[in-house]
């Protein structure tokens, strides 16, 4: 049993895919750390999210204005800080997708699915936090720090499960 495991490990280490996946994994990790640590890159993402949130609030009938990373109305305002961009959660998801043994097209689909999903859910989160801030300000901290953080975690876990169970299976068949 131990010999079989050793042989499997040796075969894995000798395969090109193992090293390419490892390099991609470490590259993604380094890239995410660089982006989240770079004030310039993060500012672009934060301002972009603030603008989209502002536009959505305007569509929903609020007269929202955006100033830098802060979006708000006369009633309430929210600032999109680094942690509010969902970059850490997305990073974990991306690493899990890259590490999973499946084809490159399948991984690419997983990356697109995750990036789109986290981006959309984050917009829902920002809009909902605005409403919580207006209607239930006493619960804002709990919803912001506890409920939404936990929901984001559950969302990426579910998204990964869905992707791993549905699409990796489909691509293997193909």
């Amino acid at each position: 049993m131990r010999v079989r495991g050793w042989l499997r490990l040796r075969g894995l280490v000798r395969s090109r895919r193992f090293w390419v996946t490892g390099a991609l994994f470490l590259g993604t990790l380094a890239g995410l750390l660089w982006v989240s640590g770079s004030a310039g890159s993060m500012a672009v993402i934060q301002r972009g999210l603030a603008r989209i949130t502002g536009a959505l609030l305007n569509i929903l009938g609020h007269s929202a204005s955006v100033s830098g990373i802060t979006v708000g109305t006369e009633a309430f305002g929210i600032s999109v800080v680094t942690a509010c961009t969902g970059i850490f959660t997305l990073g974990l998801y991306l690493l899990a997708v890259i590490a999973y043994p499946c084809g490159w097209i399948c991984k690419l689909f997983g990356v697109v699915l995750g990036a789109g999903g986290v981006f959309l859910l984050n917009l829902v989160r920002l809009i909902s936090l605005y409403y919580v801030g207006i209607h239930m300000p006493q619960h804002f901290d709990v919803v912001h720090q506890l409920v939404w953080q936990s929901l984001m975690i559950a969302f990426v876990v579910l998204l990964w499960l869905f992707w791993a169970g549905r699409w990796t299976h489909a691509s293997r068949k193909a």
Binding site: G37, D141, Q149, S150, L158
Partner: protein, 201 residues
């Protein structure tokens, strides 16, 4: 063909929906009891962080003070005076809530196994939180002046944020491996059953 695809998708949707429902219900329950958990948890953290800081600091400059469920770190500045350095609110330890909810929602675990894994996972998270506080404080001291340690501070932040998922995966990986294999085998079987005769793939 369409039926086969629908069958394959439903194989994942059902357990995924079950997982999501249990997670959300657990999250609601834990959010309600969280204010009661946060205080005692901060007490436990304080009791371990104090000797941990004492052990890693040669000159022992830090003073740990707990205010309700918040942990304040002060620094001796001479003459018996202290100045605040950093504080950690109760949300610094929020990861208990998603971690417990994830463990409750994990399928295919017997109660005994689930209980043991939960205890192990909570102990691991507690150690992560202690390490997070100690390392954050030491990095703040090390970064003071012209030295920038933003990269390290960010890394600590990422590890703190990733802790509930990482610990959950570590403690339930075996169960998930079995579950994923079962779902995929079930999906394949349903696909074969649903596929028209003579159809390929």
């Amino acid at each position: 063909m369409l039926r086969a695809r629908r069958e394959r998708t439903s194989g994942i949707w059902k357990p995924a929906s079950r997982f999501a429902c249990i997670f959300v219900l657990s999250l609601v329950a834990l959010t309600v009891v969280w204010p009661r958990i946060a205080g005692p948890y901060a007490v436990a953290i304080e009791h371990v962080v104090r000797p941990a800081l004492h052990a890693v600091e040669a000159t022992d400059p830090s003073v740990v003070h707990r205010d309700g469920s918040e942990i304040w770190i002060y620094r001796h500045i001479g003459g018996g005076r202290v100045t605040p350095v950093v504080w950690f609110d109760r949300y610094a330890f929020f990861a208990i809530v998603p971690l417990l909810a994830l463990l409750m929602a994990t399928p295919g675990l017997a109660w005994r196994s689930r209980g043991l894994r939960t205890l192990g996972a909570l102990a691991a998270l507690f150690l992560v939180h202690v390490a997070y506080l100690v390392i954050s404080v030491e990095l703040l001291y090390a970064a003071s002046g012209t030295r920038s340690l933003e990269g390290w501070q960010l890394m600590v932040r990422v590890l703190w944020e990733a802790a509930p998922i990482g610990i959950w995966v570590a403690f339930t990986a075996g169960a998930w491996r079995v579950q994923l294999k079962r779902w995929m085998d079930g999906s394949k079987a349903r696909c074969r059953a649903a596929a028209p005769i003579g159809a390929s793939g």
